[in-house]
Symmetry: C2
Subunit: 251 residues, 2 copies
């Protein structure tokens, strides 16, 4: 069994993910409700600023969104990526302002759903409610996993973890080119903002991983993971357990 086969096996059940995402009834109702709210955003577009008024949620159909926060001095931290099929609600506890900035990382189609409509949809569609709950739980688990790395891990471990997470999520929604081969619409700067490192150090770390044969990362983040196990060891994860934890519908 090649490393690639193994990762498919580990991260696998790609079909489940696709199925979940494409669940016919939900998808149809969603599409009907959202059609007229679709927007195509070009790379770099900012959907909402941190602290701005919001009364909407955002459902990504294609492309990536980043949810980021900044310190007054300008340092940015990306707290989540929103991938196709996922919905993100940027509303704080006051119900009126966004606690993050949402930015398109590439050409991205988004449905903008106002809170009331979303609430109605959730109450009308049990399947939607369930699948959203699942995604929510997965997102929470992922976020905790990342906090663990932000707080207690080396640069190598953080980057390794990020790559594994990307791979699993991409596999789950069927956006891999081949097994363990995929593209993420990020520059090193963004990866740095995600992992809590400087872009310079991200660069060094990626190159080191490359030199050791664990991955290839060509210029614009076309990634290929050669040795998942070594990467998992660096990241300090059990692939099987991680998948069950952070990928919705991977039970």
């Amino acid at each position: 069994m090649s490393p690639q086969d193994d990762l498919i096996h580990k991260t696998g059940q790609a079909l489940d993910g696709v199925q979940l995402r494409r669940d016919a009834r939900v998808q149809a109702s969603l599409a009907a409700a959202l059609d007229h709210t679709m927007r195509v955003l070009s790379k770099g577009t900012i959907l909402v600023f941190e602290g701005a008024k919001v009364d909407s949620l955002f459902h990504v159909t294609s492309g990536w969104l980043a949810a980021a926060k900044s310190l007054p001095e300008g340092e940015r931290q990306i707290v989540e990526f929103v991938l196709p099929g996922e919905t993100y609600d940027p509303t704080s506890a006051d119900g009126q302002t966004s606690y993050v900035e949402l930015e398109a990382l590439c050409e991205t189609t988004v449905a903008i759903i106002d809170a009331a409509t979303w609430a109605r949809l959730l109450s009308e569609l049990p399947e939607l409610r369930d699948s959203e709950r699942l995604r929510d739980v997965a997102a929470r688990a992922r976020q905790s996993e990342r906090m663990l790395r932000l707080g207690k891990s080396s640069a190598e471990s953080r980057v390794a973890y990020a790559l594994i997470e990307f791979c699993m999520r991409m596999t789950a929604i069927g956006e891999t080119d081949r097994d363990c081969v995929f593209h993420v619409p990020l520059g090193q700067q963004q990866l740095a903002e995600y992992t809590g490192l400087s872009s310079v150090h991200v660069c060094r770390t990626l190159r080191r991983l490359g030199r050791n044969g664990l991955i290839t990362a060509d210029d614009h983040m076309d990634l290929e993971i050669h040795d998942v196990h070594a990467l998992a060891v660096l990241a300090g994860v059990d692939l099987d357990a991680l998948r069950r934890e952070i990928i919705p519908g991977a039970a």
Copy 2:
């Protein structure tokens, strides 16, 4: 206006918090449903291990719980504290295993609610559903705020932020001794696991804050914040905005 008055004003609406927590109908139904599932845990008790089977949620009535994750090498990161009146669901995306370890930080009373019962309660009590949603949103915002500090801030800023967060949350549930004076059931080691620092450096940082007159932190984490504004500057937050973001019902 003294700093204390000001923080009450900023973090304020203590009454809202109490009211939210004590909402008569919800509280009564909850109590009825939970009475027989109450457990009193002694300090250090571990409710669930990371990776263990769970089909329950945990509702804290008094005391503190820590939700923590560990790396294989043993480094721990506390991802959330669960305070009185809050509910924590440790279930991962597979719906069967816990993605965190839950530990009592002092004598703590917890209601152990099985998932099915909880689902029933939520569907039967709209008020509960709403207040839980609010708390959920607040928790998500807090977690992002912490990720920002874990990724991009100095030790001083991380500790300052943690103290402000404690103060706001304690004020909201009415567990302050006086304004800006409260106790957290943590050692420096735990604070370190929360802020992603070494306990040694937490010690140095607390002492520095003390020497500069911003706080007093006597032996077992009886805290008093003298200069909230200086602390807020260090943490890089706007107190007003932060409260609206992370405290449920602070709108």
